[in-house]
C-alpha cells in the first residue's frame, strides 16, 4: 500500500533540509477546487530547525525561495 506524503504546493524536496513548516507534519490532501474560491496565496509560517525561528542562522528570513542548497545562503544543507 502506498504511503502518503505530506503535501504542500509551496515546498518541494529542493529546499534546505532545515526548513520546516506545518504542512510537513500535517498530511492534508490538497483540494483541486480550492482556487475556484480565491487566488493562490501563501500564509505559511516557515521556520529553521537550527534556530527554531522564522530567521535562519544568517539572520535572513526562512523561505523556500531562498532556503536552497547551493544558493546564496551559506547556512543551507
Amino acid at each position: 500500500m502506498d504511503t502518503p506524503k505530506p503535501s504542500s504546493p509551496l515546498v518541494n524536496e529542493h529546499h534546505c533540509n532545515n526548513l520546516r513548516h506545518k504542512g510537513m507534519y500535517v498530511m492534508s490532501v490538497p483540494d483541486p477546487d480550492e482556487f475556484k474560491f480565491y487566488d493562490r496565496y501563501d500564509a505559511t509560517a516557515y521556520w529553521c530547525t537550527c534556530t527554531q525561528k522564522a530567521l535562519g542562522p544568517d539572520g535572513l528570513s526562512v523561505h523556500p525561495t531562498t532556503c536552497k542548497p547551493g544558493g546564496q545562503r551559506g547556512c543551507c544543507e
Binding site: 500500500m1 504511503t3 502518503p4 505530506p6 532545515n18 520546516r20 506545518k22 504542512g23 510537513m24 507534519y25 500535517v26 498530511m27 492534508s28 490532501v29 490538497p30 483540494d31 483541486p32 477546487d33 480550492e34 475556484k36 474560491f37 480565491y38 487566488d39 493562490r40 496565496y41 501563501d42 500564509a43 505559511t44 509560517a45 516557515y46 521556520w47 530547525t49 537550527c50 534556530t51 527554531q52 525561528k53 522564522a54 530567521l55 539572520g59 535572513l60 528570513s61 526562512v62 523561505h63
Partner: protein
C-alpha cells in the same frame, strides 16, 4: 433539539457493500451531480461507513470529560518526575539590540541552580522582545526566577520598528536584511479596466485586521528526562511524531532515541508543531543537569514568542454593475507576521470578481513571529471581503444576502453557500433586518449581518494497531493526539461502531510517539486522517476475530457477523433452505444464534487478535462550506457592542459525533467573536514592547459576553469524514462587523471594533442614521 440538518445526500451513506450497490448518480440533486473530485463520494472502500450507523452521528459526551473536570487528566504542565528541576528562559527585554556583554557567574552559583546555558554571544543581535538568550534549571521555580535576575546584560539598544507604518516609511532604519519588506503575492486576472468601466458603483476603502495571539490555556512547554542517550519528553504539542522529529533534528540525535508523550493537551490552535526553542533548551539543560526538567512558559512569554495571527491591511477598489454582479476588484495588501515572517491571506474571498488584481507585501517589524493560527489567512480575507460586500450591496440597494448569493461561485458539495444562506436567514429572522442604520429611537441599536467561509479539512496517513484479547478488551493505539477537539471520543465511537460495542468498552491509547505513526493535528485534518484508520483497523481486527472463531465454531467465516454486544452466527444458505438438513430435522428453518462479545473473545485463548491498519481512500474527503449570521445590540452612547446571537450553518461531511462537532463550532465562533471585538496585541510605538501581555488587558470574551449560539450541522454522509476545527472560526468576525454596521449605519473597516473606534466613527458620521 437536534441541530443536525440533512445534507444533499442525507440518507445515502456509503453502503456496507458499496461495490455491490453503487449509488445511482442520477438520483443525486443537481448540486451533487456537479461535484468535482476529490469532493466525490468514497470509492468502494473495503470497510465503508455503515449504512445505518448505531453510534456514528449520535451525540456522545467526551470520554475524557470527567477526567478533565475533576483534575485527574494530566497535561504536560501537570507532569512531575522524581528529582525534577524547573527551567526558566532568559529573554531579551529589548525589541532590537546588540549584546555588548553578559555575566552569568552569579547566576551559576545561585542557590539551587544545577545548569545554565547561554545561547548568544556579545556582538549578536536580537530582533524582538522575548527573544531567547539562554536558560537555566534550578531546584525550585523561585530559585530559577531569582537566578535569572542575577545575569548581567549590557546592550546597545537599536532603533526598533513597532508598526507596519514605521517599517514602510522611506526613512525607516533598515532593521531586516535585505529590507524591511518583501514583495509577496502578485495576481491579475481578467480585464480590470473593463471591469471598472462596467461598474455602476465603485467602493474604495482601506480595511485592516489586528495581530491576534493564540492564547492557549495550556502554555507551550515540556518536561524532558534523559536516560543515557534516550530522551523522553512530555510536550504540549499538536504533533507527537512531528515533535519527535523536531527534537532529533534540533539535538542531532536519532529519532529512535526520542519518545514524545502528550496524553492531554490544552490547546494549540496551530502554534504547537515542534519542540520549539523552549523544548530544545529544556532538553539541553536537563542533559547538563543530569535530571529531569520542567520548562513551561508563562502567559507573557506566550504572547511574546509563541506565535500569532498576522495583521492584515487592504487598500481596495471594487466595482459592481447595476444588476448586482461584481465586476472588478483591485487591492494592494500588506501586513506583518513579525520579525522576518510572512502575512499573506486569500483575497478576495469566495465571491467571484471576474476582473481582479492584487499585490501583497510582507512587512517585518520587531515583534514575535507569526505561526499558523486557526484557518491561517482566512479570517483576514473573509473580513475584508465580507465588509466590502455589504458596502457594495448598499450601493445598489440590494439585500446583502441576495447580493452574496448572486455572486457565489458554482455550487457543489464543497460550495453549498447558496443553500446555507437561506437556512441561516430563517434562524436569525433575517426578514426582520432593517436597512443600514437602525431607525429605532434611543441609544440601543440593533443589527444583523452575515458572512461565509470555506476550508479544506482532508487528511490522510494515520496508522493504528488494534488488539482484542480473550477477556473481551479492545485496545486501539494510534500516535495521534487529542488537542481538545474530542479526537479520543470519536475514535472510540468508530471502533465501537465497527465491533458492535459501546464506547466505554474500547480503550483508546494516543499521544505517544511509540504508537503507530499519525500526522500532526492541523488544518482540521485529524478526523479525516484518523477516523478511516480506526474504521479500517477495527474492521481488520473484526475479520481476524472471525477467522479465529470460525474453525472453533465449525462454520464458514461468511456466516459470522457483528451484532450489538454480540457475535452473530447465521445459518448457512443450505441450512436455511426448506429442504435443507436442519430444516428436515426440526421442521423449522434454523435461527441465527448470538454469542456474547466476551464469550466470542474467550475463543481467542492466550493469543490476542493483533492487527495493524491505516488510512485508506474512500472514507474521507475535503472541502467544507458554511455561513454565519450575527445579531448585535450597540449602545451608541458608550460604543459597547453586545453580540446577542450567532447562527452557524456548517458542513463537515459525515458527522461522527454530533456533540463534539457542535463544540468545535462553539469554540470557533467564540474565537471569532474575540477577533471581532476584543483581542489585539498592542505594541508600544516607541519600544515595540507589548503593553498587554497578559489575560487582563489582552481582552477576551468572558461568559457574559458569549451570545446564544445556534449551530446547524449539515450532514453529508456520502462524502466521508471531513474536519471541522477551523471553518467555524473564519466567518464570525465579518458577520459581527456587518451586524454592527447594520445597527449603527457607520462602517468600521478595522477590527477589533472597540468602543473607542466605534464612538470616533459615529462622531465622524454625525451619529446614527
Amino acid at each position: 433539539m437536534d441541530s443536525r440538518a440533512p445534507g444533499p445526500g442525507a440518507g445515502r451513506r456509503a453502503p456496507e457493500n458499496a461495490h455491490d450497490r453503487i449509488p445511482d448518480p442520477g438520483s443525486r440533486s443537481p448540486q451533487v451531480a456537479e461535484v468535482q473530485a476529490p469532493a466525490r463520494p468514497p470509492q468502494h472502500p473495503k470497510y465503508p461507513w455503515p449504512e445505518k450507523p448505531r453510534l456514528i452521528g449520535t451525540r456522545i459526551s467526551r470520554l475524557d470529560g470527567p477526567l478533565k473536570v475533576s483534575g485527574r487528566a494530566k497535561y504536560s504542565y501537570d507532569i512531575a518526575r522524581p528529582g525534577m528541576l524547573y527551567g526558566r528562559i532568559l529573554r531579551s527585554p529589548h525589541a532590537h539590540a546588540r549584546l555588548k556583554s553578559i555575566d552569568a557567574a552569579a547566576a551559576e552559583k545561585a542557590p539551587g541552580v544545577k545548569a545554565l546555558l547561554i545561547t548568544i554571544k556579545p556582538g549578536d543581535k536580537i530582533l524582538y522582545p522575548g527573544e531567547e538568550i539562554g536558560a537555566l534549571a534550578a531546584a525550585t521555580e523561585q530559585q530559577a526566577a531569582d537566578a535569572l535576575r542575577l545575569i548581567k546584560l549590557e546592550w546597545d539598544v537599536l532603533p526598533a520598528l513597532a508598526t507596519v507604518e514605521q517599517a514602510m516609511r522611506p526613512e525607516a532604519p533598515q532593521v531586516f536584511t535585505p529590507a524591511n519588506t518583501r514583495r509577496g503575492t502578485a495576481q491579475e486576472d481578467g480585464d480590470l479596466a473593463a471591469g471598472f468601466t462596467a461598474a455602476a458603483h465603485i467602493v474604495e476603502g482601506t480595511y485592516s485586521t489586528q495581530v491576534q495571539t493564540h492564547t492557549s490555556l495550556e502554555t507551550h512547554g515540556s518536561v524532558c528526562e534523559w536516560n543515557g542517550d534516550n530522551l523522553t519528553a512530555w510536550v504540549s504539542t499538536q504533533a507527537v511524531h512531528g515533535t519527535r522529529e523536531g527534537f532529533a533534528a534540533g539535538l542531532k540525535i536519532p529519532q529512535a532515541n526520542v519518545r514524545v508523550i502528550t496524553e492531554f493537551m490544552g490547546g494549540g490552535f496551530g502554534s504547537k508543531f515542534g519542540p520549539d526553542i523552549q523544548g530544545l533548551l529544556c532538553a539541553r539543560v536537563a542533559k547538563a543537569a543530569n535530571a529531569p526538567v520542567k520548562m513551561m512558559l508563562d502567559r507573557k512569554e506566550e504572547h511574546l514568542v509563541t506565535g500569532n495571527r498576522p495583521s492584515a491591511f487592504a487598500r481596495v477598489r471594487a466595482g459592481v454593475a447595476a444588476d448586482g454582479k461584481l465586476t472588478a476588484f483591485d487591492a494592494q495588501t500588506w501586513g506583518t507576521g513579525g520579525a522576518g515572517a510572512g502575512s499573506d491571506y486569500p483575497l478576495p474571498y469566495i465571491y467571484t470578481f471576474p476582473n481582479r488584481r492584487r499585490t501583497h507585501t510582507d512587512v517585518y517589524i520587531n515583534a514575535g513571529q507569526q505561526r499558523a493560527m486557526r484557518a491561517p489567512g482566512h479570517p483576514q480575507g473573509c473580513f475584508v471581503t465580507e465588509v466590502l460586500m455589504d458596502e457594495l450591496a448598499d450601493r445598489i440597494r440590494m439585500d446583502p444576502m441576495e447580493f452574496r448569493i448572486r455572486n457565489l461561485p458554482a455550487p457543489g458539495p464543497n460550495a453549498m453557500w447558496a443553500k446555507y444562506f437561506p437556512m441561516g436567514a430563517e434562524r436569525i429572522n433575517w426578514k426582520s433586518r432593517h436597512v443600514t442604520g437602525d431607525p429605532a429611537p434611543g441609544p440601543i441599536k440593533r443589527g444583523l449581518g452575515c458572512s461565509a467561509n470555506r476550508w479544506g479539512g482532508a487528511g490522510q496517513g494515520a496508522r493504528a494497531h488494534c488488539e482484542i484479547t480473550a477477556d473481551g478488551s479492545v485496545v486501539m493505539r494510534c500516535g495521534t493526539q487529542d488537542i481538545g477537539t474530542g479526537n479520543r471520543t470519536i475514535m472510540a465511537m468508530v471502533v465501537a461502531e465497527t465491533l458492535g460495542l459501546e464506547v466505554s468498552q474500547v480503550t483508546i491509547e494516543i499521544g505517544d510517539s511509540n504508537h503507530p505513526f499519525a500526522p500532526g493535528s492541523g488544518g482540521s485534518t485529524t478526523a479525516a486522517a484518523v477516523m478511516p484508520a480506526m474504521r479500517v483497523t477495527a474492521g481488520k481486527a473484526r475479520d481476524a476475530l472471525f477467522e479465529r472463531m470460525a474453525p472453533q465454531l465449525g462454520v464458514p467465516i461468511e456466516q459470522i457477523s457483528i451484532g450489538v454486544g454480540t457475535v452473530v452466527v447465521s445459518p448457512s444458505t443450505r441450512d436455511s433452505l426448506p429442504d435443507g438438513p436442519a430444516a428436515a430435522r426440526s421442521g423449522q428453518p434454523p435461527a441465527s444464534r448470538s454469542i456474547s462479545w466476551r464469550d466470542a473473545c474467550r475463543l481467542l485463548g492466550t493469543v490476542p487478535v493483533s492487527v495493524d491498519g491505516q488510512w485508506e481512500r474512500g472514507l474521507s474527503a475535503g472541502g467544507t462550506s458554511g455561513v454565519q449570521f450575527a445579531e448585535v445590540e450597540v449602545d451608541i452612547e458608550t460604543g459597547i457592542t453586545k453580540v446577542k446571537k450567532i447562527v452557524c450553518v456548517q458542513d463537515c461531511g459525515l458527522i461522527v459525533d454530533l456533540k463534539t462537532a457542535e463544540t468545535q463550532c462553539y469554540g470557533g465562533i467564540i474565537s471569532g467573536l474575540n477577533y471581532a471585538v476584543f483581542e489585539e496585541r498592542i505594541l508600544d510605538r516607541n519600544t515595540a514592547n507589548m503593553v498587554n501581555p497578559n489575560m487582563e488587558w489582552y481582552h477576551m470574551a468572558g461568559p457574559s459576553d458569549i451570545p446564544e449560539i445556534d449551530v446547524v450541522l449539515v450532514d453529508q454522509p456520502e462524502r466521508g469524514v471531513i474536519g471541522i476545527g477551523e471553518p467555524p472560526a473564519v466567518a464570525t468576525a465579518a458577520a459581527v462587523a456587518n451586524a454592527i454596521r447594520n445597527a449603527t449605519g457607520v462602517t468600521l473597516r478595522s477590527i477589533p471594533i472597540t468602543p473607542d473606534k466605534l464612538l470616533a466613527e459615529l462622531q465622524r458620521a454625525g451619529g446614527t442614521n
